[in-house]
């Protein structure tokens, strides 16, 4: 429990850091820290595969691209466009009402207990996950993998040099 509280505290703190940091690079680094704490939560739920994949895909690939773009654009406080007051007020009201709705919807939720006799601690392990994906959900899984393969082939095609193109 204390480990959970510590992780939740770090997760919330780093998530706040993403929004509040003045420097976009700091924001990205806070976001990476947030992903790490989320992965730690997955680990505590015994979902090792999900934890590892979360690190590889989000922290390892997508955030590298984020950082890449932000470094290229060289964003900082001086170049940041100043938003009009109306937009700020509208954003505050929208965000506040979302918070209100979420608190109203969730404040009475009770965590359901689990039955220790029937509880399966191995459910998040990679072999179990594979069996579920390939037996129960094989069609959606295959469709998603074809989509990803098509995206990858597409990127290779875009990067390929056409005949007659300039060799810089």
């Amino acid at each position: 429990m204390s480990l959970f509280l510590f992780l939740a505290f770090v997760a919330l703190l780093s998530a706040l850091g993403v929004v509040l940091a003045k420097n976009p690079v700091h924001s990205v680094l806070f976001l990476i820290l947030t992903f790490f704490t989320l992965s730690a939560h997955y680990l505590m739920l015994n979902a090792q595969f999900l934890a590892a994949v979360n690190i590889i895909v989000y922290a390892g690939a997508i955030m590298v691209l984020f950082l890449f773009v932000i470094m290229f654009l060289n964003l900082n406080e001086d170049t940041e466009p100043h938003k009009p007051a109306l937009a700020k007020i509208a954003a505050t009201i929208a965000g506040g009402s979302l918070l209100l709705i979420m608190v109203a919807a969730l404040h009475k939720v009770q965590p359901t207990g689990y039955n220790a006799d029937t509880f399966d601690s191995q459910v998040g392990m990679v072999d179990r996950l594979g069996l579920v994906l390939f037996k129960q959900y094989s069609l959606p899984f295959e469709l998603a993998s074809i989509l990803l393969l098509a995206a990858m082939v597409g990127s290779v095609m875009l990067g390929k040099r056409e005949t007659g193109e300039r060799n810089f």
Partner: protein, 365 residues
């Protein structure tokens, strides 16, 4: 797990940590000696016998150099960059099995930091994080050349991670397990002829080793620090031990990449006739079962380190033999050659498994 074996496992973790650092230290020496050998020079031979104390002298030099902060640098991130590079480099050796197990009566000590069932994904995840140290350091230096080096490192690592992951998928299709210990044990079955994965996955290994060179930023793919174009790349502005940490991190990465290749493709701690040796020791030499197992396990550790050192030598051999790629050549190699080849390798492996050429792996342990 009992408290006693937990203590033993903690000791193994500490030893693995120490060995990683020691090997990285002596890699700096080995690199210079091998470079000298390949270029028909003498190399470092002043400090100690055969220059063996050279890494110590280098460390003293690095520690006593002036710490320099470039103007306009983001100071916190400037310090954080090299630390992160070192942390991510050292984290990945935790899951690598350096030996089978030692047995003292009831106590069984696995010669591996931690055994997790997603070991390969763990290594892959940590490797993909390694680029942050370079990116942050390069950006925080407030220097055009450093920034270019950082950006090159980022796009290079993302491009080659894809091909690396795809080449590993072919191994996973054969092994059916992500645990590095399972993959090692599968490569040697007692009582029958069984080949290491390199025989079953020659194309996959070729793709993997090219990607390993790119991921560790070693020549011919050391574009992030390319000194002929970018002064010193991402570590242009670094001095003193912060510079040293970047250099060490590179060597730790080389060590880990070599270890991963030995484990996945070259049988890890397996060596030929190990089970026969164990039988012979306990049957005709009067060793107890535990002692025979311990002897074989220690020989296994020797075997895995012999494989790792050959790979480290190969890394250095290539560095002093091949010239550096141009950046567009690097990208073209990654995206238009390695990735299609890796996909072809997956199809080939799938076909061979379906045709029954690659035998079904049985879990014999």
């Amino acid at each position: 797990m009992s408290l006693e074996s937990l203590g033993w496992q903690g000791l193994v973790v500490l030893v693995v940590f120490g060995i990683s650092l020691l090997i990285a230290t002596y890699c700096t020496y080995a690199e210079r000696v091998i470079a000298a050998f390949l270029q028909d020079r003498v190399g470092p031979d002043r400090a100690g016998p055969w220059g063996l104390a050279q890494p110590l002298a280098d460390a003293v030099k690095l520690f006593t150099k002036e710490e320099f902060f470039p103007s306009g640098a983001n100071k916190a991130l400037f310090i954080f960059g090299p630390c992160l590079a070192m942390i991510t480099a050292l984290m990945s050796s935790a899951v690598i099995p350096f030996g089978s197990f030692l047995k003292f009566g009831e106590t069984v000590v696995h010669l591996q930091g931690i055994e997790i069932n997603v070991g390969m994904l763990y290594v892959f995840g940590i490797v993909s994080l390694g680029v942050y140290g370079i990116m942050i350091g390069g950006w925080a230096s407030n220097n055009k050349f450093s920034l270019l080096g950082a950006i090159r490192a980022a796009s290079q690592s993302i491009s080659y991670e894809l091909a690396m992951g795809l080449s590993l998928i072919a191994v996973l299709m054969m092994s059916g397990s992500l645990s590095l210990r399972d993959i090692t044990l599968q490569q040697s079955v007692p009582g029958e002829w069984h080949f290491w994965n390199i025989v079953k996955q020659p194309l996959g290994f070729l793709i993997f080793i090219v990607c390993a060179f790119a991921e560790t930023n070693r020549t011919p793919f050391d574009l992030p620090e390319c000194e002929t174009e970018l002064v010193g790349g991402y570590h242009t502005e670094y001095s003193s031990m912060k510079m040293g940490l970047y250099l060490f991190a590179e060597y730790v990465n080389v060590f880990v990449a070599s270890a991963v290749m030995s484990v996945i493709y070259f049988g890890g701690f397996n060596f030929p006739f190990q089970y026969e040796l164990r039988e012979w020791l306990s049957a005709s030499r009067g060793f107890s079962a535990d002692a025979a197992q311990n002897v074989v396990a220690i020989l296994g550790v020797v075997a895995v380190f012999a494989k790792i050192f050959s790979f480290i030598f190969f890394f250095m051999w290539v560095r002093w033999t091949l010239p550096r790629f141009r950046y567009d050549q690097l990208m073209r190699l990654g995206w238009t050659i390695l990735i299609p080849l890796a996909i072809f390798n997956i199809l080939l492996t799938g076909g061979l498994i379906t045709a029954g050429v690659i035998p079904e792996i049985k879990q014999w342990w």
